[in-house]
Subunit: 657 residues, 2 copies
């Protein structure tokens, strides 16, 4: 085996242009892209994610049209088209986007080519596309809220109106539909709308009437993707114009919508989390396509600030219910963690663009953490109900009527942004797993499947995240040159070994450089590599400035964050539980539990809490020496699987004394 | 000296009817009231509260009309009266109530009879009363939002409209104006409106058309007070009807507005904090006037639940920004503590009614804590700016544009409920300090002033809360019978002594019973009692279920909660500070600082925080042993005085390791 090659500054790497197109994925790159890596062609067949994606394909996505019908979204399109009568339904100006996100999800699903459910799905897609096309106005504009409720007045309420936001989701759906089916019906609608927008928005000197941006970023990434799909440079330029007009007071100058400071000057993420993240994904896209070093530096700077001070251990983002906002640095509450499911998705989208742009593994570290925890908790195991917010604690006696910002799973939301967003990420998940460059192929996430970059194809087999063994078999490889198989060794992993053929290396002789284990040789079909990541459960503490978890630890195993749920602890709540850190953690795989999970069992006790009378604050001396209560065995389940049984309390962070 | 008499169950006590009228106070009692205690007649002359009240009288209250003019509230009245033209201003349906609360505050201020500013104030009051009267419609209805914006449509949006809420504040203002000035111009307006409301609302079988309640309780206490002022029993009955119709789904059944469960069945406070508290104040009023034991039991039960599990150490109430809501039990965040100033005021109003109803000292314990901390922080030392929310922590690097829900003092709010609410409580504060019953006089709060109950008058002199010595001199007393001077020994106080003439008693021979030190003898004018409360600064810990403050203590001294402010700790922030609990606390009175405060100085150090890279979570083993950073002297100031210097970080709860 060749020694892993020494670190090459990632900015000098670049993927060849012919690798940049992923026929059925959401982040294609243009022919002049300046990214270190290009997305690989991938398929997932088996393992953890296949199970989740099957539920998505067989339950969640097929239910979309019915839910969009009952919520009124589809009827709005008919009324706008003049084929039905009635009043606008839905209460929000952005309800069209729910339709578009579902269309995007369904399109990525169609691209899988799995026959069993596709004929019905293809018909549903065709039907909904027709509704969308029918609602478009002759000049290309399309928004049922403004058309039906606002007398057709356009672009007068950019702060709240979500017109360009909806247009962005329409464009993304159209690109997905085109890539998946080859059909142009929806792409034509999107192009026509994009051209209408392009004729209206621009700097004053451009001769176009409106110098403005949408209060909710989204169209920016969409326009870059439309450029990638059509080759039309105007869309890329318009995206760049939009991104750079934030921070100049066009929206009133508020941090809430990233209008306080230009992105290029910002030193921290702020305001509404999803808005900030979509905008940063666009910055990464623009830096990818144009090589804009200043934009890239801003995105790198903000990503580092966000992860170091504003990210929950689950990868969840957004500390405030109020305004769905990032909080202050280290303000990471548990019971009131907002961690909107859409923010987790936006984080994955942004981080993947950064991973490709820079070639750095840390971005995929965050993607892994987010996918397995903060994101996946957003959908129930049966694919039928959802969490909009993803708290890290539910207290004993918590009362909750359900609904949009609830800690209880809900069938559909009044503001239904998250469910179709989950659907589209799950349906396109394979495109976030691997990449290629001129030097070889990189596996970012470990899922059973097949990955192709240029003339290299490898097959991956694993029971990850339950088992730490990942087998990679070379299926296709150039016979005339060495290339590098890069395996990401996760940031959480402190011990691993790798077997290439009959030789086993550990971290001393196969070291990780910047998160990558790089194995270079002239690989031949049939060559097999097995990476073994040690999956000992571990106790994790936070930076001491995270006040919310002082004196607590979290249980983690591999990429999974664990939690206690009341269902596993009959006879009491969770608010008085203390973990004994001196006793070993043990694991048990439970195929019967929650679709099959590995649990972590720990020792603890219930705290003896003296009767405090009517006032819960006492002189510190006496409060500091509470005697221990009775022992209790603590059974931790993966956080993603919580809230799939009866209502009850839950906690990720466990007091240790 | 007679031994303090043994505890008499407070429910057997009752104040004689002739003591129940406080000529100029906000909580009079009707002739048949079933309360243990009746409010005393009181005046505050000197000391801590006189200083705060002088600022209120000389700065805050006089600025009211100008601020209400510039915010449009007064112009709305003119437009409704037809004496001006224009559009409704203010953006909220409850803006009339700001005018009424100011009128109530100004009326209580006029009742003080302090000549220096009253001629201008009286003229302002007269002018604003005329505007209110002019806006009333012929049948008594008065609400500028519905009159100007909703085409005069009435009582169709009880969930959000605040019509009865505004009416309640009008009634309270009218009662205050009548008690203070004897004039009936505003009372006539209120009575006419109350009669209009009484003709409309009632149970279906009453023959009145609407079975409904207002989404924001307020009219209920107001109607009880109007009954007390006019003797008209219909108002009391209507208040009882309103209180009992909550919890039956008339507002949609949401906990937010206390409509999930009837008050008589509730086991915990829930929903919007101010709404819940105003409703409970009304329950206490009704139990007082009618002797309704079930309502009283509900109020007692909910007060105990609230204080034990949902009250911040400052007395602040309401854990959520979102919906201004009580959170779950023990959910008491620091940086996102909502603790609306209005909730602190409502808590004082409710607790005072409970103190009078039951005779129990714990209600006044909470009043003291709230007045000196959670309430008083709501207004700046100069009386010119305000806090709507009262967090217990502001982080290093906190960015804040100011405004309604900000941690920065603001000149006036878009939703300006809190400032005039502070004004009215400060202007009527003397009525919350002392009471009388058939057996004597009770001093609940220690302020320099004079207190009269029946034929007993005492004078109180004290530098409280800076000094623990309280001198009480009997000025007037019956010569023919013994009576009891009851002094509340605060719940925080673990050591005290009392001198009666030349004899000194400590807690062993003058014990406290249920919070009261009861001194019974045949007192004579000139008799002097000195109560000495030990004011050693102390470290306070919370119930371990209050996750937000695990591993932290708060500094308290007497009734004051202390905090660290960045202004006193140059050269660094507060997020990395650790208190050394083994070193003594020292106090220093600083007449130059923040209007004169006693500071508490403690030893601490800055925490050494290793560079965590991009991810702030680490394996617990290594995270548990951070070396100490440099020592730092910590200077704590009273919480009420925070945010009166430059912007910066602040914290009440201090980590200890």
């Amino acid at each position: 085996m060749h020694r892993p090659r020494s670190a090459v500054p990632s900015s000098t790497l670049s993927a060849p242009a012919e690798q940049r197109g992923t026929p059925t994925g959401p982040v294609r790159q243009g022919p002049d892209a300046k990214a270190a890596l290009a997305p690989a062609t991938a398929e997932v067949r088996g393992g953890f994610w296949e199970t989740r994606r099957t539920v998505n394909a067989h339950t969640s996505i097929p239910q979309g049209p019915g839910l969009l019908e009952s919520a009124g979204n589809l009827q709005n399109l008919r009324i706008a088209a003049g084929t039905a009568e009635g009043e606008f339904q839905g209460g929000y100006p952005f309800v069209d986007s729910d339709v578009y996100k579902w269309l995007e999800a369904a399109s990525w699903q169609l691209a899988q080519g799995t026959p069993e459910s596709d004929s019905g799905l293809a018909a549903d897609v065709e039907r909904v596309v027709s509704l969308v096309a029918g609602a478009q106005q002759p000049d290309g504009y399309l928004n049922t809220w403004f058309h039906l409720l606002k007398g057709g007045e356009r672009y007068k309420d950019l702060r709240w109106g979500h017109e360009l936001y909806c247009a962005g989701h329409l464009i993304q759906a159209a690109v997905a539909h085109h890539r998946a089916t080859g059909g142009s019906e929806l792409l034509d609608v999107a192009v026509k709308f994009a051209d209408q927008i392009d004729s209206v928005f621009g700097l004053p000197e451009s001769g176009r009437p409106i110098d403005g941006i949408d209060g909710h970023p989204e169209i920016e990434t969409a326009l870059v993707e439309l450029y990638r799909e059509t080759g039309e440079r105007r869309y890329l330029d318009l995206a760049g114009y939009f991104v750079d007009r934030f921070g100049h007071g066009l929206l009133g100058g508020e941090a809430y919508c990233q209008d306080r400071v230009p992105l290029r000057e910002a030193i921290d993420v702020e305001g509404h989390a999803v808005r900030q993240l979509y905008l940063l994904a666009a910055a990464a896209d623009l830096a990818t396509e144009t090589g804009d070093a200043e934009l890239r530096a801003a995105a790198e700077r903000l990503w580092a600030a966000m992860t170091a001070t504003k990210t929950h251990i689950t990868g969840g983002l957004g500390a405030h219910h109020d305004e769905e906002d990032f909080g202050d640095p280290y303000e990471l509450p548990n019971e009131r963690a907002y961690c909107e499911t859409c923010a987790a998705i936006a984080s994955v989208q942004w981080s993947w663009r950064m991973a490709l742009l820079t070639g750095e593994a840390r971005y995929s570290d965050l993607i892994e953490r987010t996918l397995y925890n903060g994101f996946l908790a957003g959908v129930s195991l049966d694919g039928e109900s959802w969490l909009y917010v993803n708290p890290l604690q539910v207290r004993d006696g918590h009362t909750d009527p359900g609904g949009d910002q609830s800690a209880r799973r809900t069938r559909w939301f009044r503001c239904a942004c998250c469910p179709p967003n989950v659907m589209r990420l799950l349906a396109s998940l394979e495109h976030y797993l691997a990449s290629g460059d001129a030097g070889g192929l990189q596996i970012h996430q470990y899922a059973t499947g097949r990955y192709t970059a240029g003339d290299i194809t490898v097959r991956c087999e694993t029971d990850y995240p339950w088992q730490g063994s990942i087998g990679v078999t070379v299926e296709k490889a150039p016979s005339d040159r060495p290339w590098t198989l890069s395996l990401r060794v996760p940031q959480w992993c402190s011990e691993y070994r790798v077997r290439c053929g009959d030789t086993v290396y550990d971290q001393s002789d196969a070291p990780v450089t910047d998160g990558w284990l790089r194995l270079e040789r002239t690989w031949a079909p049939g060559d097999r590599i097995v990476l073994e990541l040690a999956l000992e459960p571990r106790l994790t503490a936070a930076d001491p400035r995270v006040d919310a978890v002082r004196g607590c630890v979290a249980i983690e195993r591999g990429p999974l964050v664990y939690c206690l749920e009341q269902a596993d602890h009959p006879g009491g709540g969770l608010d008085d539980i203390v973990l004994d850190t001196t006793r070993p953690l043990t694991v048990e795989h439970r195929p019967d539990l929650l679709g099959g999970v590995t649990t972590v069992v720990a020792a603890g006790h219930r705290r003896h809490i003296p009767d405090a009378g009517w006032w819960p604050y006492r002189t510190a001396d006496t409060a500091d020496i509470p005697p221990a209560g009775g022992p209790v065995e603590l059974t931790a389940i993966p956080y993603y699987a919580w809230a799939n049984r009866q209502d009850g309390s839950m906690r990720v962070w466990l007091p240790t004394s």
